[in-house]
């Protein structure tokens, strides 16, 4: 029995995935999570620290880490890189003037050793607001086709309406599942298990 088999068997028991939600401030990371969890999104404050959400999605338990995107918090992102199976990069599709900033931060992440191998989903959020950039435009603006180091996909969505959020999550889960467990996502709705909000970092 090779080492790989042992590892696979071990992970099969757990069937857990660790997903990291990152992006510039005002992208809508927390709102997406709250919406997925069927929580009230009208009271979402800019994240001062981080949130953890645990969902059961299909056959898998997802541990989702949502870290605040304010410039001052970005240096802390690296504290969350360990053992990340997938990175979800949330983009405010209306924020044309900060696309360069957004691209730079994303590319810094992709250089990170500890994120090597993690699947990348780009959520083009806020597609409900007039004047948004389409997923194709964002794909170009962020030069996603230039990414060779990670499996990536871009999905346009709206956290406010909930449109396409589950589709995005499905892609992430099936992508990670095929990589780690050599299996696919079985059908099943997202069932929230628990959510907690630990206090702020420093």
């Amino acid at each position: 029995m090779g080492l790989l088999t042992i590892i696979r068997k071990n992970r099969r028991k757990e069937r857990e995935m660790r997903i990291l939600f990152l992006g510039l401030d005002n992208a809508g990371k927390t709102t997406i999570l709250k919406k997925l969890n069927d929580e009230d999104i009208t009271s979402v404050s800019p994240t001062f620290g981080f949130n953890i959400k645990t969902f059961v999605h299909g056959r898998y338990t997802l541990n989702i880490w949502d870290v605040g995107g304010q410039r001052t918090l970005r240096p802390y992102w690296r504290n969350y890189f360990e053992q990340t199976d997938a990175l979800v990069w949330v983009v405010d599709s209306c924020d044309r003037s900060r696309m360069d900033d957004c691209k730079e931060e994303l590319y810094n992440l992709l250089l990170e050793d500890r994120l090597a191998g993690a699947s990348l989903l780009v959520f083009a959020n806020k597609q409900d607001i007039p004047g948004y950039m389409t997923d194709k435009e964002i794909e170009q603006a962020l030069n996603l086709p230039g990414i060779k180091s990670h499996q990536w996909n871009i999905i346009s969505c709206s956290a406010v309406t909930g449109n396409n959020l589950l589709e995005g999550l499905n892609w992430v889960v099936s992508e990670v599942a095929s990589r780690l467990y050599h299996s696919t996502l079985t059908d099943g709705a997202t069932v929230p298990v628990s959510s907690e909000k630990p206090p702020i970092i420093p």
């Binding site: 009208t42 979402v44 800019p46 001062f48 410039r71 209306c94 050793d113």
Partner: protein, 292 residues
């Protein structure tokens, strides 16, 4: 390892900074920073790429801080010297020079600014910007997100924004807004009259005053204040540039009712000569944004 190196850098710097700045010995401080820079260069070999970047950024910041200290030091002496000579001048004169009379008034009447033109509103110095429409358009003015940047000396009266408001590079402005989320970056000398459903956030800002949403706006245009978020949220400001237990030095609260807005209501009837003067009274003091 790298974590500790980072922290050591910081701790060393701050302790040295404290002692040396107490002695006003900039020379020594510069020497220490140079030494630190050398240490960093030596350490490059065993630091991972990310930490290298972080440390370099921190080094740059230190050097910039020192530059700032030097410049404020020199400008301060200049300032006292000037004040002694100019002591007889009326205090209003710096305000005049800072905001020339020719500065334009964007709208004289209750005009509707289309959302399209709103996109282009940047890098200008306007005196007043009201996003309230004339009657037929009233119901159409519903914003879900608002982003404003690079404004100087402007009074912004904004509608109730359903989503988030992001302000960037505002200097000496007065902003009246109701929204769901409020963020402000890199701004100085701004008075914010705010009703928000979540905690307002500032980052890289200084001399920011927060106050509750003034009731006069509903007299200006009732549609602006439909379904207004509850007042009082303005006291829960979070300053991301000051993540400590101590209160942030970058913002403060204006007492309620400290501003009299009656003259804004009758602004359109005022002689055009007076408009600038009236608007000027509603902007933050020029001195406070200059100092920042």
């Amino acid at each position: 390892m790298s974590e500790t190196t980072d922290k050591t850098f910081q701790r060393d710097f701050y302790s040295q900074f404290q002692t040396t700045s107490d002695n006003n010995d900039q020379q020594e401080l510069a020497l220490d920073i140079r030494k630190l820079r050398k240490n960093l260069t030596d350490a490059i070999g065993f630091l991972p790429a990310y930490d290298q970047r972080q440390c370099r950024a921190q080094m740059d910041l230190l050097e910039r801080t020192l530059e700032d200290i030097r410049s404020t030091f020199t400008s301060k002496t200049k300032f006292t010297f000037k004040r002694k000579t100019n002591v007889a001048l009326p205090s209003a004169s710096p305000v005049q020079s800072h905001s020339p009379l020719g500065s334009q008034l964007l709208e004289k009447r209750d005009g509707l600014l289309a959302i399209a033109t709103l996109n282009k509103l940047s890098s200008h110095s306007h005196r007043r910007l009201s996003l309230h429409g004339t009657t037929p358009h009233r119901n159409e003015l519903s914003l879900t997100a608002l982003r404003i940047h690079d404004l100087k000396e402007t009074i912004l009266i904004l509608p109730n924004v359903k989503g988030s408001v992001l302000l960037q590079n505002l200097h000496r402005c007065t902003v009246i807004v109701a929204c769901h989320q409020f963020r402000m970056h890199n701004s100085t000398g701004v008075h914010v009259y705010l009703a928000a459903t979540s905690n307002p956030v500032i980052e890289g800002c200084s001399s920011i005053a927060f106050a509750e949403y003034p009731p006069f706006v509903s007299l200006l245009n009732p549609s602006l204040t439909e379904a207004l978020p509850p007042n009082g949220g303005h006291v829960n400001v979070q300053d991301f540039s000051h993540i400590r237990q101590s209160p942030s030095p970058n913002w403060f609260i204006l007492p309620p009712g400290s501003e009299d807005w009656d003259d804004i209501l009758i602004l359109d009837d005022a002689p055009s000569k007076q408009i600038d003067a009236i608007l000027d009274t509603h902007l933050p003091d020029a001195a406070c944004s200059d100092a920042a």
